[in-house]
């Protein structure tokens, strides 16, 4: 195996480990820090089914963002839904034989990458053009968009323009999964794409991308509005009660 393939092999093991472990630790943190008070943003559902429906609407339709700003909603939704289809399409590099529904999504996933990058460009335009958003942006906010766009553009270039040896790419990733390491085609564009994706995986648990797990733990969205019906007390508050109550 050539040096580049070997380096990417180790990079991907490392990136996968950091992503999985980093996210697991963060999720454990969110799950274990108590929520001592009932703070759903009302009007809120009064029972668990209602909460699940509210969360599904937030997750799939970006309901709150829709109420807030139609442009951010449009660009944000284009990016995220595009990304979802693109990710699902990429399952074909990890499954053999390819699942039927992944094969079905294949053409949609291909064009979704265009939607994804357009959405990202829209978001970046706003970040630069709207004075309020420019004010709140740190360097990392710009670089994150640059990174995602670069990943999208290198992917698009391979899908639509120059192509790459996808059979060998698939062999590489199946090899990673089954510890039967295979070389990658020697293709700078592909290297670029893969290094950037690994970088994204490495950054994920240490960045604002934590909004992905975070949104499931947001008490203003995931709590039911039933404080009068059910007493809600956290462990540390209970200790307080026992101590001097």
């Amino acid at each position: 195996m050539d040096a580049a393939s070997l380096a990417l092999t180790f990079l991907y093991y490392g990136a996968a480990l950091v992503l999985a472990l980093g996210l697991a630790l963060r999720i454990r943190r969110y799950a274990t820090v108590p929520a001592p008070l009932k703070i759903p943003t009302t009007p809120a559902p009064t029972n668990r089914i209602g909460v699940v429906l509210r969360m599904i609407r937030e997750l799939t339709l970006f309901e709150s963002l829709f109420k807030s700003n139609k442009w951010i909603w449009l660009f944000g939704w284009m990016f995220h839904f595009g990304l979802l289809l693109v990710l699902l399409r990429h399952l074909r590099y990890f499954t053999d034989p390819v699942w039927g529904w992944v094969a079905f999504l294949q053409p949609y996933g291909k064009y979704a990458s265009l939607m994804m990058v357009l959405g990202l460009l829209g978001l970046w335009f706003r970040r630069v053009a709207v004075d309020r958003v420019r004010y709140i942006s740190a360097l990392s906010d710009h670089l994150m968009l640059a990174l995602l766009i670069a990943i999208g553009v290198t992917g698009i270039a391979m899908s639509f323009a120059v192509g790459t040896d996808v059979v060998a790419v698939k062999a590489f990733f199946l090899g990673l999964m089954w510890f039967d390491w295979q070389p990658l085609p020697s293709d700078p564009l592909l290297y670029g794409h893969l290094v950037l994706v690994a970088l994204l995986m490495l950054i994920f648990p240490f960045s604002k991308l934590l909004h992905a797990p975070g949104m499931f733990f947001s008490p203003t969205r995931n709590q039911a509005d039933n404080p009068r019906e059910r007493r809600h007390v956290s462990a540390w508050a209970l200790k307080l009660e026992k101590g001097n109550g």
Binding site: T46, S68, R127, D131, V133, I136, H232
Partner: protein
């Protein structure tokens, strides 16, 4: 206008415009710092401690261990900008640090510096900063330019609530000895005297006797205001402003008439003669709990069966959302009623049952609109279904008045704007902020005044009422254009055996 302000009053525009930001436009605004006498009793150091940086950073860590909201919110913001035009203080002051995300970032940048990998090693990349004196100054200024109204949390795709960050920042500042005078003095008064205004029991009883006389003069009916009456069914807990401020007191008269007419036995408590709980504003669970426990003690002591809260916004949040948590369980009360209830729920129920006679024409001199108070709208509920906090007060107004128009849809219900004085900012040292923060509400009011000839705005919050009574005049309105919802009920209700009832019977006969 009563006084010449030392600042420019924003202009009321026919259509809301998102202003261009002007850096440091409100950098001069900050409330008085609490004196050491008022810090100690609340469990805070009297003045800025020597190693305040270390203490503050450690406290931040304690709070992220304690509150999932804070931990998740600090990590989750993607700086999308959805909240940037949602805060009334930003719209009114144009200071970018009054954009919810920028306000949060004052806290978040220090959290990042000390508690995240990126902030520790690459602070320049992610905008992480040490807690310098300058940053602390910004905290003190801008976390006292947030009324914790939660409007931003409605619009955030992750539900990030700046109120939670604001409360945490104030708690950190209290823990290093930099407390806010207004809030901390008031919490002190609640504990030493029983209410925010420091009204002792004899003065309270005297005031209430005056109200009894007033009602009897008006109606010929002896409506009572019982205090500390053991064995009464209902403990009424109401903001102390209801005892004498205008238009609050007219609301209190309304509650008394309703309870009297329905034949309900009720009492006020001198021990818990205050519904407000400023412990929430300073983010202190311990102080909030201590204030809330007075109500439990009063309920036990008086042997009541129900607890009902008067018109007060943040008090209703603490009551509805937190009381069961802080001071429950309330298994000693009548299980047939929710604990606690809002006076509007009681009145609404009685109207539904046909137990109140309301003569709407008594309010014909007014064309009404209604201001949803932030804490009622976005942090609580009334009745059995979500949104009852919007429909129940409006139903009461419609049952009491002939003329009612809502303000524009993006300024009412869950989208309501704060009055500009909530969250512990209702103090004269912040008057410029209060006037400017009221701008979005004033624009919405102006619209229904122009379109529908609205003359009065009703509210169910003591802070809103006090705030509007003060700031309406700055925008060319009259201070008495703000009224209590139960003031309208009070005007319309026809008490059994009253002069009004006799008149009505006479006019029917004729």
């Amino acid at each position: 206008m009563a006084e010449q302000p030392a600042f420019d009053i924003p202009e009321l525009k026919p259509y809301p415009v998102i202003p261009k930001l002007v850096e440091d436009a409100m950098a001069h605004s900050q409330p008085f710092v609490a004196k050491s006498d008022f810090q100690g009793p609340l469990g805070f150091p009297g003045e800025l401690v020597d190693d305040w940086q270390d203490v503050a950073v450690k406290k931040m860590g304690e709070l992220t261990d304690r509150y999932r909201s804070l931990q998740v919110f600090l990590d989750s913001c993607v700086k999308c900008g959805a909240c940037t035009d949602k805060c009334h203080y930003y719209l009114g002051t144009t200071d970018p640090k009054n954009m919810p995300v920028a306000r949060q970032d004052l806290f978040r940048k220090v959290y990042r510096r000390h508690y995240t990998f990126a902030g520790k090693y690459l602070p320049w990349l992610v905008g992480a900063e040490d807690l310098t004196e300058e940053v602390l100054d910004d905290w003190y200024k801008y976390f006292h330019q947030c009324s914790q109204c939660r409007r931003c949390s409605v619009y955030c795709p992750y539900g990030i609530d700046t109120a939670e960050i604001s409360m945490a920042a104030r708690e950190v500042m209290d823990s290093i000895g930099k407390g806010q005078k207004y809030c901390n003095e008031i919490i002190g008064k609640v504990h030493t005297i029983g209410n925010n205004l420091g009204l002792p029991e004899p003065a309270l009883v005297d005031t209430l006797e005056g109200l009894e006389e007033e009602i009897e003069e008006d109606t010929g009916v002896a409506v009572k205001f019982p205090v500390d009456q053991k064995g009464a069914d209902i403990l009424l807990v109401t903001p102390s402003a209801d005892f004498f401020a205008e238009p609050h007191v007219d609301g209190l008269i309304g509650y008394a008439k309703v309870l009297h007419e329905a034949g309900l036995s009720w009492t006020l408590s001198s021990h818990a003669s205050e519904a407000a709980n400023f412990g929430m504003f300073i983010g202190s669970y311990e102080n909030m709990r201590k204030v809330a426990l007075r109500i439990r003690e009063a309920a036990l002591d008086l042997g009541v069966k129900r607890i009902v809260f008067g018109e007060c916004g943040h008090a209703w949040r603490v009551a509805y959302s937190f009381l069961n948590t802080l001071a429950g369980p309330f298994d000693f009360l009548d299980p047939n009623y929710p604990v606690p209830q809002h006076i509007c729920e009681v009145t609404h129920g009685l109207i539904q049952e046909g137990k109140l006679r309301l003569d709407k024409s008594q309010n014909d001199d007014m064309v009404m609109t209604y201001h949803d108070s932030c804490n009622v709208a976005r942090a609580s509920r009334m009745g059995d279904v979500p949104g009852g906090q919007f429909t129940i007060p409006r139903d009461i107004i419609r049952a009491s008045c002939n003329h009612f128009y809502d303000m524009p849809a993006d300024t009412v219900r869950e989208a309501t704007y704060c009055c500009g004085g909530g969250g512990g900012l209702l103090t004269d040292d912040l008057i410029e902020l209060r006037v400017k923060g009221a701008l979005p509400r004033m624009e919405a009011l102006k619209q229904v005044v122009d379109d529908h000839g609205v003359t009065h705005m009703a509210a169910i919050c003591a802070i809103c009422k006090s705030q509007f009574a003060k700031v309406l005049t700055y925008y060319g309105f009259q201070m008495d254009q703000i009224v209590s919802v139960h003031q309208l009920v009070s005007n319309a209700i026809v008490l059994t055996g009253s002069e009004q009832e006799k008149e009505a019977e006479l006019s029917e006969a004729a």
